[in-house]
């Protein structure tokens, strides 16, 4: 009896089976890569703002404390965005004619708020609280990245749940002394750059972190209602 299928059918069958697996896998990988890509996460995306405010200049070069503008970060879930009045405390004295600052002056004159584009956004079903994080020794730059180097502000992390959980599972890897929380130039301890904590010198983040977790009574909260409710 003659063969019904040509010999090449074997090859085609193999190719299509492996091909299907590859293509599906490839697609899956592509989706995964897209989901983690800055295009999708908006990580590193510099936002256009009504005034090109530079954290590099204000926080980095001038050394203005984070809390000068983000006043409620130690008391509230929301760190707070400065009212126009805060800008004008300085800019009614310096750079009073800079055209770049015209929207700020206009806002102050007219009483119309500046509308800033949100950079670090969480979905509405996530209830994040700034105050507890800073009081437990999580620095601004831990989540917000090298803010002192940002000319225009961008999102430093993905802000995905897995990104949150990285720290909630192992806070010792990230926590720093409370005194350093608002230091935008803080570097984790290393052999070349030791950090003082509780009167001791640390050269290893994990060692410092473990002590801080104990000292600051940091819980590894991972159940859902911690953030979702």
């Amino acid at each position: 009896m003659a063969q019904i299928f040509h010999r090449s059918t074997n090859l085609i069958a193999r190719a299509s089976i492996y091909g299907a697996v590859l293509i599906i896998g490839g697609l899956g990988y592509a989706l995964y890569a897209i989901a983690l890509s800055p295009w999708y996460t908006e990580q590193g995306l510099e936002r256009q703002q009504p005034v090109p405010f530079s954290h590099r200049h204000h926080a980095g070069e001038l050394g203005i404390d984070c809390r000068y503008c983000h006043t409620s970060v130690e008391q509230s879930s929301f760190a707070g965005l400065p009212p126009t009045q805060t800008c004008m405390t300085c800019h009614s004295q310096i750079w009073t004619n800079a055209s770049m600052l015209e929207p700020v002056r206009e806002s102050y004159r007219s009483g119309q708020s500046l509308a800033w584009t949100r950079v670090n956004a969480l979905p509405d079903f996530v209830y994040f609280d700034h105050s507890i994080h800073v009081s437990k020794g999580i620095g601004c730059t831990t989540c917000h990245g090298p803010i002192a180097q940002m000319a225009l502000t961008y999102r430093a992390g993905t802000l995905y749940m897995s990104w949150c959980l990285d720290c909630h599972r192992q806070p010792a890897q990230y926590v720093r002394p409370r005194s350093e929380v608002f230091n935008p130039f803080y570097e984790p301890p290393s052999a070349s750059h030791p950090v003082m904590f509780e009167g001791k010198e640390f050269t290893d983040q994990l060692a410092l972190g473990r002590l801080a977790v104990k000292e600051y009574k940091i819980h590894t909260l991972q159940y859902c209602s911690t953030c979702h409710r």
């Binding site: 999708y40 908006e42 006043t71 409620s72 008391q75 509230s76 879930s77 929301f78 707070g80 965005l81 400065p82 009212p83 126009t84 009045q85 806002s107 102050y108 009483g111 119309q112 708020s113 500046l114 509308a115 800033w116 584009t117 949100r118 956004a121 979905p123 509405d124 079903f125 209830y127 609280d129 105050s131 507890i132 009081s135 437990k136 009574k217 819980h219 159940y223 859902c224 209602s225 911690t226 979702h228 409710r229």
Partner: protein, 1008 residues
Amino acid sequence: MTENSNGIDFSSVRAKLAGEGRKRFWQSIEELSNTKEYRDFLEHEFPADADKAPDGLHRRDMLKLMAASAAMAGLNACTKLPTEKIVPYVRPPEEIIPGKPLYYATSMPLHGVGTGVLVESHMGRPTKIEGNPEHPGSLGATDVFMQASILHLYDPDRSQTVIYDGRVSNWSSFAAAMDDARIQLAPKGTGVRILTQRVTSPTLAAQIRKLLAQFPDAKWVQYEVSSGDSIREGTRLVFGKPVHPVYRFAEADVIVSLDADFIASGPGHVRYIRDFSSRRDLAAGSASKLNRLYTVESMPTSTGAMADHRLPLRAADVENFARLLATSVGVNVPPGTAAKIPGDWVAAVGRDLASHRGSSLVIAGEEQPLVVHAIAHTINSALGNVGKTVIYTEPLDANPVNHLESLRDLVGDLNSGQVEFLLILGGNPVYDAPADFDFASALMKARLRVHTGLYNDETAELCHWHVPGAHYLESWSDVRAYDGTVGIIQPLIAPLYDSRTTHEVIATLTGDGGTSAHDLVRNYWQSQRPEKGQAFEAFWETSLHDGVMAGTALPPVSVTATMDFAAQARAQSTGDAGALEVVFRPDPAIGDGEFANNGWLQELPKPITRLTWDNAALLSPATAQELGLQKGDYVKLRLAGREAKAGVFIVPGHADHSVTLHLGYGRSRAGNVGTGPGFDAYLLRDSSALWIARGLSIEKTGDKYEFACTQQQYTIDLDGHPADEESANAFRRDLVRVATLDEFHKNPAFAKDPQEEATKDLTLYPGFEYKGYAWGMSIDLNRCVGCNACVIACQSENNIAVVGKDQVARGRAMHWIRVDTYFNGGLENPATYFEPLPCMQCENAPCEYVCPVGATTHSSEGLNDMTYNRCVGTRYCSNNCPYKVRRFNFYLYSDYKTPSLFGMRNPNVTVRSRGVMEKCTYCVQRINAAKIRSEEENRTVRDGEIQTACQQACPAEAIIFGNINDKSSRVSRLKAQSRDYSLLADLNTRPRTTYLARLRNPHTEIHD
């Protein structure tokens, strides 16, 4: 049990109850007769047809749809977060920290009486009402009206602009028109009438007096349905002058309620619940002395449910009872006829009262005739209770008048064409005036008619001018509490619309136009107070901060009872004693109609009947049987030539030959929510018999009326299925456990079932060890009065949606806490028990095992977390919940469209969308906030620091929440009591919510 599809076979129900005696707790007559409807709700999570696919959908189409939805479901997540704007202040207001709520004290006026509240405000938006612990009328607690008033504020149907002659106008035109009117009416103001509701506000009274001084011929008329007329006039009858009774339930060992529902209505009822339930508390140990409550009433109420002895009696016969009772304690009044009143009952109550001189209390209900009030006051004086359990003060009213007569005079003046100018400050007399006044056509005879009120309602429609009234949360004003204490009403938000307070409206006529309400109120008090200058500033700031003006409670006045009234003819005993009686009462949920447009209150299951979205002709099983009526029969009610149509609803324990009609429904211009539901009982209400009338006739129309009643929904199978071998636990598991005080003393652990105790901890595996906090709740059934405040508080705190009557009927109401009602005993006079039921937060939660997506999981503190954003809506969890506490969003119930409602929502709780399961979380947002606060202060959460919304609202302090790992916490101490028991403990779910069993304190001589 046979099933009768046409209706209920009462004789078989009676036989069944007689057979089971006091052992059986039951919830509805449908349960007893085992109807199909009942079994549907019992056996299924939702009734069998509730989730039936729409007609005309074929299997193939269904599969296609399912495949498409499965394919699309994954795409849901493929959206980027929308770009948002952050808009900071230009100049930040003082005190506001974005993300942190602020609390302000104010007072909510209801029927002229204020109750203190603390209002939670997020960035200037009031979002939640709590009681003001400093206020004597609240002590930190609230009632359903206070809780729901926040929705009233944001109601999109509120009147928004000034209307003149049906057209949009504005305030300045109105003010100009009032200026013209002033000039025209000067100098004497002939034909000027001011119609207000009950006024206790000192500032408003001063303004009206100023107006009356300017226009000597003007008259001030007051009318309101819940006016307190019978209380004022009753005291006038017996003491010769109107006074205001203030009760001290905490001091009373024996209380007799003569048709008085003091738990649900009347001035001070929030405080009265606290005082009453403080005497139902055994937590204090054996030293605590339980009070004893006797209730005589026609319609079963919460007060009747709390009674140790309840006597169902037609409202018109209560007078006879009162006379017999008076005679039995030695007060000389002409005795009543003893028909239908068990003599030994009266005698026993009389002896109990007599043996508690100075610590007993008799109260008459507002619907009762004046003579019953007079008798109650006389008994209290005779027993030496005055000054101990009841004190009398000057009336709260700035001008204590008889509202009915006041309105009658006005209608007379209107009809004789004497009224030039009628200013209606609040109220809706076109809808709620007695039918024989024909107020609408009388009103049209006034030459200029001005109305101000929250809604463009039935009355506003017939007036020339309508000015939108300001809600109390937008107003400056003042009001007296039940004991006379003045509370300043301060605004939480600028008026949402072009609305004005009554102070500002009347100021346009007194020549104070342009003065703000704030200045009017402040100037009044500045002129009244002894403090001047800086001292007044301090006094004013303190009063605003505390919400009460210290030391303004009215002092007791001494009164002497005269017996002149005793000779008076009996008010209600005349007429055909056999005729059907009708009793009108304000609705327990929507009041006299004022709250008709409030969805929360409409959907609130009313106490006892658990009816939502409707009123009904409420009558007893025996009367229904006698008249050949079944539940849901649509009938024509005829009374003195007037007619209304209503659905029949059968209430176990209702007095025979009596029909109760709740007022407030059948509105024609209430708004999108309130226009429509129910029928207008005011159509039958005559000024000659405002509350109780005789001679009602009922005629079947042949039609049926559908009710949305939650009483037989969420029923829990107590019997198990003997046929089902899985159901080894086919023994009875009563969810309510009750004993008398004697039984309790003999067996303090009566609530614990040995069989359940033996099985409840059986497991092969070691239990999870809860370190740190372990949240738990204890609900004291002995304190709970079934007032429903918890239900609305929860709805407000947790952004719970309103679903509408049709959805409620399908068992889809969304309340996270419900107040289950159980009956025990015969249909004629069953004992009634309330059981608030939130999520039990089981340690071994059946819901968690079955969730395929991990949307409901367990926290290390023992909460059943519900993660809405993970939920895909399989509803397995709900199916597996033995307590039936999970609620599913079958449709998009939450309002995503109405902007005014956005401001009302709690920003700390997700607004759930369609297809998502939700349930009680023990207010996890409050737990998290308190934990964060405590961690930042480097301490642990203090006992009592976290109050769940239901607990905070509860006037009876029946709900206590806390950390059960802390053995000294209040909740742990309550759970350690011998009365503590769990629901369905044998299932080994280990619920964190447990109950304290109910105790009754019956009189040894009465056996009923």
